[in-house]
C-alpha cells in the first residue's frame, strides 16, 4: 500500500514536473518590455512630464488661471481657488512619476551593470546631467505649487523600500536643487552628445543642456533673492559656467502632428471638446494697453498695443478677455456680453497640435540677469525683443520690425521693477507656474485682480451690476499662495502629511500658507523694489 501511494505520487509529480519549466517561461510578461535603452526612457520622461503639466488640468484649470492668463468660461471653481481633489491627487503623483523616470535614466547611467550599455545612447555623464536638470526643473515647479514636498526621501521605493517619504522643508529643498543643478552642469562633457536620439527638448545637444542648467540655476536664485543672501553668487557661478545666449538656446518641447502626439491643450479643446477656456481679461488688458477702470488701476504704458497679442489669442482686433472668475453661470453670460473670442471657433496658435511648450525662455533669463544687474535698461530691452522674437518664431509668424522697435521704445519709458515684472509676466505665457511664482514673489503685475476687487460688470435690463472677485476658499485677501497638499497623501503617507501640514500657517492644509521665498507682507508689498 505504501508503495502504491508512493508510485501514484511520484507519477503525478512527474506530470507536474514536466510542465514546471514551461510554467516559469509562461510567467514572462509578453505585453510589457523588461529591458529598455535609457534614451527611450528619457524620451518618454520628457513627454510624460510635458503632457501632465501643459494640459487642461494642471495648467489650464490651475496655474494659468491663478496667474490670470487664461480663464474658465463656465465652471469657475479653480479660478476661485477650489481645486478638484481627484485632479490634485493625479497631478501630484504623475509629476513624481516624471521625476522617477528621470531618476531611472540617471540610475541606468550610474549602475555598473547598465552603464556600458547605456553609453551607446550618449555619454553617461551627459545623460545623467540632462536627467538631473530635468529633475531640478520639475521639482522646482512642484515645490512652487505645493510648498515643501518630499524630495530627499522620495523615489526610494525600489532602492530602500521607502514607502513613506518625509516632506522636506522648502528651504532645504531649494538648497538641494541648487546643489544638484550645479553638479549637473559641472559634469557635462560638451564634446559628446547628451543623447544620440530621443531627446525632444535639445535633440541631444550637451551644450544646450548645460546652458539650460545654468539658466535654471538663475531662475532658482532669483526666486530666493529676498531670502538667501547667496543668490547673487549662484547667478555669478551660472554666468561663469555659461547660460543661454539666444532664443536658439531656449528650452521648449515641440509637439508633433503625427498620430496622437499632439499637444494636450489641443486635445482638451478639440478631442475632448472642452471649449472651456478663453484669454483672461487681466492679460488681455495688459497686452492691449487698457487700464483697469473697474478698480481704478493704472497701466504703465496705457494705449500701447503689445505685438504678442496677435499671437496669444484670436486676432480679431478686439482681443477682449474673459473676466476673472465670477460665479458659475454669470461667467458664461459675460463671455457673450464682453465679446470674448471663442478659441474653439477660431483657433489661436497656442492651440495648435504642434505647439512648443516653453520650459524656460531666453527672455526670462534676460529679465533675471537684468534684475541681478539692478533692473538695467539694456537687459530689459534685449529681453523684450527676445520675447517678441521667440513668440513670433514659435507661432511661425513674422512682424514689422519698426512696429516692434516702437513698442520697445514705448515700454522703456520707465524701466523699473514693475516694468520688468510685467514684461516677464507677458513672456511667461502658458508657463503658468513660473508666472504665478513671479506674481507671488514680486507682487506685480498690480493689474492682477485680487479678492475683493471688482472683476466684472454684468449688464442687465435695469442697469449694470458690478461683481466682486470672491474666492471659494480662504486666501486672506491675497491671490492663492499655494495649492493644498493632495488628500491621497493623507491616507497613503499619513504621518509625513500630518507633519507637513502642521508646519503650514495655522497648521491646516490651506491655500494661504506662503512659499518660503514669498516674504511680502501684503498683496501690494513689492519686495522687488527694495
Amino acid at each position: 500500500m505504501k508503495k502504491l501511494i508512493k508510485y501514484t505520487l511520484i507519477g503525478s509529480f512527474c506530470i507536474a514536473a514536466v510542465s514546471c519549466s514551461d510554467q516559469e517561461a509562461m510567467n514572462v510578461d509578453p505585453n510589457l518590455a523588461s529591458n529598455v535603452p535609457s534614451n527611450m526612457i528619457m524620451n518618454a520622461a520628457e513627454k510624460w512630464t510635458m503632457d501632465n503639466i501643459y494640459d487642461n488640468w494642471f495648467s489650464a484649470r490651475q496655474c494659468l488661471v491663478y496667474s490670470q492668463q487664461w480663464s474658465q468660461r463656465n465652471y469657475t471653481e479653480e479660478d476661485r481657488y477650489q481645486v478638484r481633489e481627484p485632479q490634485n491627487n493625479s497631478y501630484f503623483k504623475y509629476l513624481y512619476m516624471g521625476l522617477n523616470n528621470f531618476q531611472k535614466v540617471i540610475n541606468m547611467n550610474k549602475n555598473e551593470a547598465t552603464k556600458n550599455a547605456s553609453s551607446a545612447y550618449g555619454a553617461n555623464c551627459n545623460q545623467i546631467a540632462a536627467a538631473m536638470i530635468m529633475k531640478v526643473w520639475l521639482a522646482n515647479l512642484m515645490t512652487d505649487t505645493w510648498g515643501g514636498i518630499p524630495y530627499s526621501e522620495a523615489l526610494r521605493l525600489e532602492s530602500d523600500n521607502v514607502l513613506y517619504a518625509k516632506y522636506d522643508d522648502q528651504k532645504d529643498l531649494y538648497a538641494q536643487l541648487i546643489k544638484e543643478v550645479t553638479e549637473a552642469v559641472n559634469m557635462i562633457d560638451e564634446s559628446e552628445p547628451a543623447f544620440t536620439s530621443g531627446d525632444v527638448i535639445f535633440n541631444g545637444d550637451a551644450s544646450k543642456w548645460k546652458k539650460f542648467g545654468n539658466s535654471l540655476k538663475c531662475r532658482l536664485a532669483i526666486h530666493m533673492s529676498k531670502v538667501d543672501s547667496n543668490w547673487k553668487t549662484y547667478i555669478q557661478e551660472a554666468l561663469a559656467s555659461g547660460v543661454m545666449k539666444s532664443n536658439d538656446d531656449a528650452a521648449k518641447f515641440k509637439y508633433s502632428d503625427t498620430g496622437t502626439e499632439y499637444c494636450k491643450f489641443y486635445e482638451g479643446f478639440f478631442v475632448n471638446n472642452r471649449n472651456d477656456f478663453a484669454i483672461n481679461k487681466t492679460l488681455a488688458d495688459l497686452l492691449k494697453g487698457q487700464r483697469d477702470t473697474l478698480n481704478a488701476k493704472s497701466h504703465p504704458w496705457e494705449g500701447v498695443i503689445d505685438p504678442r497679442i496677435h499671437i496669444y489669442t484670436v486676432d480679431d482686433g478686439r482681443w477682449n478677455g474673459m473676466a476673472v472668475a465670477t460665479q458659475t453661470g454669470i461667467q458664461a453670460r459675460l463671455f457673450t456680453q464682453d465679446g470674448v473670442a471663442s478659441w474653439y471657433a477660431n483657433q489661436p496658435p497656442v492651440l495648435n497640435k504642434t505647439y512648443a511648450v516653453p520650459l524656460m525662455t531666453y527672455a526670462e533669463l534676460k529679465f533675471i540677469i537684468g534684475e541681478y544687474n539692478g533692473f538695467s535698461v539694456e537687459d530689459y530691452q534685449e529681453g523684450v525683443q527676445a520675447s517678441i522674437d521667440y513668440w513670433y518664431d514659435v507661432m511661425g509668424a513674422s512682424y514689422d520690425a519698426n512696429e516692434v522697435a516702437a513698442y520697445i521704445e514705448a515700454v522703456s519709458q520707465n524701466v523699473n521693477a514693475e516694468a520688468y515684472a510685467i514684461q516677464k509676466y507677458i513672456d511667461l505665457f502658458t508657463n503658468g507656474t513660473e508666472a504665478w511664482t513671479e506674481i507671488r514673489r514680486t507682487g506685480y503685475p498690480e493689474q492682477i485682480v485680487r479678492p475683493g476687487e471688482i472683476c466684472a460688470v454684468y449688464s442687465t435690463r435695469d442697469g449694470e451690476v458690478p461683481y466682486t472677485f470672491t474666492p471659494l476658499s480662504e486666501v486672506k485677501g491675497d491671490i492663492i499662495a499655494r495649492v493644498k497638499y493632495p488628500t491621497d497623501e493623507s491616507t497613503l503617507n499619513k504621518a509625513s502629511w500630518e507633519a507637513a501640514v502642521a508646519k503650514l500657517q495655522d497648521g491646516t492644509n490651506n491655500y494661504y500658507s506662503k512659499m518660503f521665498w514669498d516674504v511680502r507682507t501684503s498683496s501690494y508689498d513689492h519686495p522687488a523694489n527694495k
Partner: protein, 1060 residues
C-alpha cells in the same frame, strides 16, 4: 500498477470469504423513485458474511450457501429490505424519507448524502430559477434571497449588466471575491471585463459578468458550497465558495420525451429619482435681484426671449407659462432654412417629462428539450432562444443556447463515455452608458439638465435634415453646436454600442468501472469564448467622433483524472477519491480605435479614421497543476469524518514558492439516530464541524518590473516609461483558514426545521497591489500582506404550517449576518485603496474597519456632536478624508412562501438587506444642479434655507443661505452629504401557476400556465429617489459608488409549459 491498485482496494473488502458453492442467483436493484438501477448497493446473504455490491447496472450475482435463501439489501438513503432470493429477481428499494437521504452534488461533482456532510451546502431547484425570469438581465439573479449567506446585487435596469455575487463576505482585499461557478464539472469564467471607469461610476458600458451565459432552462439544480471546507477540493479558485450547477439529464420514460416552454416578459421602469418641476434651465443667481436667465434675440425685426440653453442646470426662472423661443422652436426654424418667423412655446413644466423617454420592454423566451434513454445510452438536446426589446430606445438583446448531453456505455456497462456541450450565442445592441459617460441618459436627465424639456420634442428633432445633431444644450441661441450634452435620443440612436459573444463550454470524458467499488475517470473540460464589442460616437456628437472594436477571447482547459472508491461494510462506509488536474488558461485581446475623429459620417470602420487608427493587443497565460484526494469514513449512518488534501503548483508565483499544499477536515454527528426512540418528534438532528485551509496564487506577471510604451513623438526612438506598479519577485502563496460549526434539526415529521451555521474565515499573506504614495514614483507595489477576517452566522428556517391533501403552505426564511474586519495590511500601512470615484470619494480597506469603506470629507462636528457651519452659513467639511460609510451590508436574507391549492400554486418572496451605504454622484449633482425635488420643495428658492448646525462660536446657526448655495455645497462641502443608506426590503417575486393534470396517454401529457412579477416594490430609509441595488456596474470589488445609475425595472411575464 492498475493491478496493484485493484489489490489494494480489494484488500479493504470485508466480505470476500469463499463459501461452499451451492445455488447461484442473479438480480437487479432498482430505485423505486426513478426506476434507475442502484450502483453499489450492498447485497448480503442473511446469516452469513457473504455479500457483494451491485454493479453499474444495479446487478449482482451471489452464491447462496446451503440453507440460506434470504438476502438483505442495503443502500444509503433507502430502506433496507430483506427478500427471498430468486434468480433474475428485481428488487425495488424505497427511499428513506425519514433519514433525509437528500443527495447533493459536492466538490468535483461527487454526489454525497447531505446528512454525511460536515459543512453547509444549500441546494436550489432549477425550477425555482425560471419561475420569475426577471427579464434577461442575468439568470444568476434568480438565486437572490434564496440561500442564506449568498448575496447577489444587480442593477435591474442594466440590460445584460453585472451582478455582484458574494458568499460569506469578502475574503480578498484586491483579488476576486466572486465564487467559482462550475457547470457539470466545468469551471466557467464568471468575471466581467468592465473598465475601472465603468465600475467607479466614471462612464462606459457595463458588459456584464460572464456568468450570465448559463441557461436557466437547462438547470436541474444548483448547489451552493459556502465555505472553504465545502470547496477545499476545488483549490485556490474556490476560496470564495462554489456555485455548482447541475444540468438536466435525460429522464427514463416511455419513448421520446419532449418539453416545451414559452415566456412572454414585459419590463417597465419602476423607480426614477423625483425631480422638481417648478423651475426651468438656467443659473438663477440673478433671480434674487429680480433678473432672470433669459436672453433676447432679434429675428426679422422681432424680439424674442430665449432661455439660456448653454447651461445644464435648473436654477432658472420659474416655469410661469410665458412665451419663449425654445430650442425646439429654433431648431424647427433652422431646419426649415430659417424662413419666416419661428414659433414660440410656453415656458412651463413639461407634459412629457423624462419618464416618457422609457419604453415598455418586451421579451420572448422559448425552450424546447428532447430526451431519450436507451439501454446503453441516453441523450438530451435542448435549445433556448430569447429576444428582448429593451425599455431604452434602440436596445435589444438576442440569445441562442444549445445544450447536448449524453453518454454511451459498453455492453458490459463498465466503460462509459459521456459528454455535455453548450453553445451560447448572444447579440446585444444599445446597452446603457453608465456613470459619468457622456451618453448616459440618466446623467443628463437627473444630474445636468433643464427641467422643462419635453421628450416628444427631443425625439422629434434630434437631427437636422442635413443629418447633424439638434440638441437643447446648444452653445447659445445663435449657435446650435452641442455645449456639453447630446440630445438623449441622439445618444441612444447614434452613439450606441453593440456586442456579440460566442461561447462553447462543456466536457468529454470516459469512466471505467474497474470494480464495483472502484471507478476511474478522465475528463477534459473546456470553456472558450470570443467576445466582440463595437462602440461608436457619431460625427456631430458633443465628443470627438470615434469608433472602436474590441475582440477578446479566452480558453480554459482542465484535464482532470480521478479514481473513486466506495465501499460499505457492516456499520462502516468508506469513500475515497484521488485526483489530478492540469489547468491552462489563455486570454488575449486585440483592440483598435480611430484617432482624430471619423472622416465619413456613419461609416464605422477603423480605416475611417482621420489619422492612423491605433491598435493594441494583450496576452495572458496561466497554468496550475494540482493533485488532490479525499477520504470519508462513516459509521452507522451517524458519524462521518472527511479529510481532504490538495497541492497546487502555479505558474504565477516565483519558482521557489510556487507549490503549496493545504488540508481540510470535517465531521458530522447525526445525534437523532441515538434519540429516535426517546424523541420521536425529532425527525433529524445533526451537528457539523469543519476546518479547512486553502492556498491561493495570483494573476500572472507580477514578479518582474516592466516598462510601458508611451509615445512615438520621435519617429526613430519610441518612448518607454516605468510601469505604474512595482512588482515583487519574492511573492508567496496566500492562505485562507476557515472553520465552521453547524446545527441542523427537523421536527414533527419535517414540518419544521432549521439550520444554523457559524463560521470564521481568515485570509493571510494576501498578494495585493498596495496603493503607494505618489512620492515613491509608483502608484502600486505588489506585496504579500494583510489579514482579513469574516465571521458570520447563517440561519435557515423552514416550515409547513398547513398541509392537507388539497392545500399546502411552505415557508422558508433565511438570514445571514457577516462581520468583516480588516485585521492588518502591510507593515505600517493602515489603508488600501480599492478605487477612486469619479469626483469625491474613494473606496478602500482600512485596518480595524470592515472591508469596503467610503473615504471622503465628513461634516465637522463640535464636542457635542453637532454639525458645524461656517461663516457663510454652510456646512463645514473636514480637511482630509475620513471613513464616511461602509459599502457591504450586515444582514441579508429572504423570505420565501409557496402555497399550493389543488392544482394552483402561488409563491412570493421578500428580500432584505440591512446596513451598508453608498456614495451617490447623482444625488450630489442632482442637488448641485437644482434637479432634485428637494431643491425646490417648501419654497426654498424664494425663502432660502438654514443649515441645521452650530457656528464656530457655539451658537445655533441662523444664517439663511440661498437654496442654490446650499445645494452647491453638496459638491463643494462635505462628501458625507451624498452618502445614502443601502438598506432595503424588496418584494422580489410573485408567481402564480396552474398545472393541468392530463391523461398520460394523451399526446400532451402535461400543461402548465403561470405568471410572475419581479422587483415589484422596494422599501427603505433612502429609497425616495433610488433603489439601492441599481448602483451595481461591475461584479468586482469596486462597489458602493453610484454614478448615474440606470433606473430599476419591474418585470412581468406569462409562461406556458408543455410536456409531450
Amino acid at each position: 500498477m492498475m493491478k496493484r491498485l485493484t489489490m489494494f482496494f480489494a484488500g479493504l473488502l470485508l466480505c470476500t470469504s469463499a463459501a461452499l458453492a451451492q445455488t447461484k442467483v442473479t438480480g437487479t436493484v432498482i430505485s423505486q423513485d426513478d426506476g434507475q438501477p442502484i450502483i453499489g448497493a450492498a447485497v448480503k446473504v442473511v446469516g452469513t458474511t457473504t455479500g457483494m455490491l451491485t454493479d453499474v447496472n444495479g446487478r449482482f450475482d451471489v452464491t447462496l450457501p446451503a440453507g440460506k435463501d434470504q438476502l438483505e439489501i442495503t443502500y444509503l438513503g433507502f430502506i433496507t429490505q430483506v427478500v427471498q432470493a430468486k434468480n433474475g429477481m428485481r428488487i425495488f428499494l424505497k427511499s428513506d424519507a425519514q433519514a433525509l437521504d437528500e443527495v447533493v452534488v459536492t466538490a468535483m461533482g461527487i454526489s454525497r448524502e447531505k446528512k454525511a456532510l460536515g459543512y453547509a451546502v444549500s441546494e436550489v431547484n432549477g425550477e425555482d430559477l425560471i419561475k420569475s425570469r426577471g427579464g434577461l438581465n442575468n439568470p444568476v439573479n434568480a438565486l437572490q434571497g434564496k440561500v442564506a449567506g449568498l448575496q447577489i446585487t444587480s442593477a435591474g435596469g442594466s440590460m445584460g449588466g453585472s451582478s455582484k455575487v458574494l458568499i460569506r463576505g469578502n475574503n480578498s482585499l484586491s483579488g476576486s471575491n466572486q465564487p467559482l461557478f462550475v457547470i457539470d464539472g466545468v469551471p466557467i469564467e464568471g468575471r466581467d471585463y468592465n473598465t475601472t471607469d465603468t465600475q467607479r461610476g466614471a462612464g462606459g458600458y457595463d458588459y456584464g459578468n460572464l456568468i450570465q451565459d448559463i441557461n436557466p432552462d437547462d438547470i436541474e439544480s444548483v448547489s451552493v458550497l459556502k465555505g472553504a471546507a465545502a470547496s477545499a477540493l476545488y483549490g485556490s479558485r474556490a476560496s470564495n465558495g462554489v456555485i455548482m450547477i447541475t444540468t438536466k439529464k435525460a429522464q427514463r420514460q416511455q419513448g421520446l420525451g419532449v418539453e416545451f416552454s414559452s415566456t412572454l416578459g414585459i419590463e417597465r421602469v419602476s423607480k426614477l429619482p423625483k425631480l422638481q418641476s417648478e423651475y426651468g434651465g438656467g443659473y438663477g443667481y440673478m433671480s434674487l435681484d429680480g433678473y432672470d436667465d433669459f436672453g433676447e434675440i432679434e429675428i426679422n425685426g422681432k424680439a424674442y426671449i430665449t432661455p439660456n440653453y448653454g447651461m445644464d442646470e435648473s436654477w432658472g426662472p420659474k416655469l410661469d407659462g410665458r412665451q419663449v423661443l425654445s430650442w425646439y422652436d429654433l431648431a424647427k426654424w433652422e431646419a426649415n432654412g430659417k424662413k419666416g418667423d419661428p414659433t414660440t412655446s410656453p415656458w412651463s413644466a413639461s407634459n412629457h417629462d423624462y419618464e416618457d423617454f422609457f419604453e415598455t420592454g418586451v421579451s420572448f423566451t422559448n425552450n424546447v428539450a428532447i430526451s431519450q434513454v436507451y439501454d446503453n445510452s441516453a441523450f438530451r438536446i435542448s435549445y433556448t432562444n430569447t429576444s428582448l426589446d429593451g425599455y431604452l430606445p434602440n436596445s435589444s438583446m438576442y440569445k441562442n443556447i444549445f445544450n447536448v448531453n449524453g453518454n454511451i456505455m459498453s455492453p458490459d456497462k463498465k466503460l462509459n463515455v459521456f459528454t455535455n456541450v453548450n453553445y451560447f450565442n448572444s447579440r446585444t445592441k444599445g446597452r446603457p452608458d453608465t456613470g459619468y459617460g457622456k451618453n448616459n441618459i440618466m446623467r443628463t436627465f437627473v444630474q445636468w439638465n433643464q427641467r422643462q424639456l419635453n421628450m416628444n420634442e427631443l425625439k422629434d428633432m434630434y437631427r437636422y435634415p442635413d443629418g447633424t445633431q439638434a440638441t437643447w444644450n446648444r452653445i447659445d441661441a445663435e449657435d446650435p453646436t452641442p455645449a456639453y450634452h447630446n440630445n438623449p435620443y441622439w445618444s441612444r440612436y447614434m452613439n450606441y454600442e453593440n456586442d456579440t459573444r460566442n461561447r462553447i463550454y462543456g466536457n468529454v470524458g470516459v469512466s471505467y468501472q474497474i470494480m464495483p467499488q472502484l471507478k476511474a475517470q478522465y475528463k477534459v473540460n473546456l470553456d472558450f469564448f470570443v467576445d466582440k464589442q463595437y462602440e461608436r460616437i457619431a460625427v456631430g456628437s458633443q465628443d470627438e467622433s470615434r469608433y472602436s472594436e474590441m475582440s477578446r477571447q479566452q480558453y480554459e482547459i482542465n484535464h482532470e483524472f480521478m479514481l473513486m472508491y466506495n465501499q460499505t461494510f457492516n456499520d462502516f462506509s468508506l469513500s475515497a477519491n484521488l485526483g489530478a488536474n492540469i489547468m491552462k488558461n489563455h486570454y488575449e485581446y486585440v483592440y483598435g480605435e480611430t484617432k482624430g475623429g471619423l472622416a465619413i459620417p456613419e461609416f464605422y470602420n477603423l480605416d475611417n479614421s482621420m489619422t492612423q487608427a491605433a491598435s493594441s493587443n494583450y496576452r495572458r497565460e496561466k497554468s496550475i497543476n494540482s493533485l488532490f484526494g479525499d477520504v470519508t469514513l462513516g459509521w452507522k449512518n451517524m458519524l462521518y469524518l472527511e479529510a481532504t488534501l490538495r497541492g497546487d503548483q502555479s505558474s504565477t508565483l516565483p519558482k521557489d514558492n510556487n507549490t503549496y499544499v493545504y488540508p481540510s477536515v470535517t465531521g458530522s454527528f447525526i445525534f437523532s439516530e441515538l434519540l429516535k426512540d426517546k424523541m420521536p418528534w425529532l425527525s433529524f438532528g445533526k451537528i457539523r464541524l469543519g476546518f479547512a485551509q486553502v492556498g491561493n496564487d495570483t494573476d500572472p506577471y507580477q514578479l518582474y518590473n516592466t516598462f510601458t510604451q508611451y509615445t512615438n513623438i520621435d519617429g526613430a526612438t519610441p518612448g518607454y516609461r516605468l510601469s505604474d506598479t512595482m512588482q515583487n519577485p519574492d511573492l508567496k502563496p496566500e492562505r485562507t483558514n476557515s472553520w465552521e460549526v453547524g446545527l441542523e434539526m427537523n421536527l414533527f415529521k419535517n414540518r419544521l426545521g432549521f439550520d444554523i451555521t457559524y463560521y470564521q474565515t481568515n485570509t493571510k499573506d494576501e498578494i495585493l497591489p498596495l496603493s503607494v504614495s505618489g512620492t515613491t514614483g509608483y502608484l502600486y507595489k505588489y506585496v504579500n500582506s494583510g489579514e482579513i477576517e469574516n465571521k458570520g452566522i447563517e440561519i435557515g428556517i423552514h416550515a409547513t404550517p398547513v398541509k392537507t391533501r388539497d392545500f399546502e403552505w411552505y415557508t422558508q426564511l433565511n438570514i445571514a449576518h457577516n462581520k468583516n474586519k480588516v485585521k492588518s495590511l502591510a507593515d505600517g500601512v493602515d489603508y488600501f485603496r480599492i478605487a477612486s470615484a469619479r469626483f469625491k470619494v474613494e473606496i478602500g480597506a482600512m485596518v480595524g474597519e470592515e472591508y469596503g469603506v467610503i473615504m471622503g470629507t465628513d461634516y465637522v462636528y463640535d464636542e457635542n456632536g453637532n454639525k458645524m457651519v461656517d461663516e457663510n452659513g454652510l456646512y463645514m467639511a473636514t480637511d482630509g478624508s475620513q471613513v464616511i460609510g461602509h459599502i457591504f451590508p450586515d444582514f441579508t436574507g429572504g423570505w420565501n412562501n409557496t402555497f399550493r391549492f389543488k392544482n394552483f400554486d402561488l409563491g412570493f418572496q421578500f428580500d432584505f438587506s440591512k446596513g451598508g451605504q453608498y456614495f451617490s454622484t447623482t444625488y450630489m449633482w442632482g442637488m448641485y444642479c437644482g434637479m432634485l425635488e428637494e431643491t425646490a420643495a417648501n419654497n426654498v428658492r424664494e425663502t432660502g434655507i438654514i443649515c441645521d448646525g452650530y457656528t464656530e462660536d457655539g451658537v445655533p446657526n441662523t444664517t439663511v443661505v440661498a437654496a442654490r448655495d446650499y445645494s452647491e455645497n453638496f459638491y463643494s462641502g462635505p462628501a458625507a452629504q451624498n452618502v445614502l443608506k443601502s438598506d432595503y426590503i424588496k418584494l422580489r417575486e410573485v408567481s402564480i401557476g396552474y398545472t393541468f393534470k392530463l391523461n398520460p396517454a394523451w399526446f400532451i401529457k402535461s400543461l402548465r400556465l403561470s405568471a410572475y412579477g419581479r422587483n415589484l416594490a422596494v422599501w427603505g430609509p433612502d429609497t425616495k429617489h433610488f433603489d439601492p441595488e441599481m448602483i451595481v456596474t461591475g461584479s468586482g470589488n469596486i462597489q458602493g459608488v453610484e454614478g448615474g445609475a440606470t433606473p430599476m425595472v419591474s418585470t412581468y411575464g406569462l409562461t406556458v409549459n408543455l410536456k409531450f
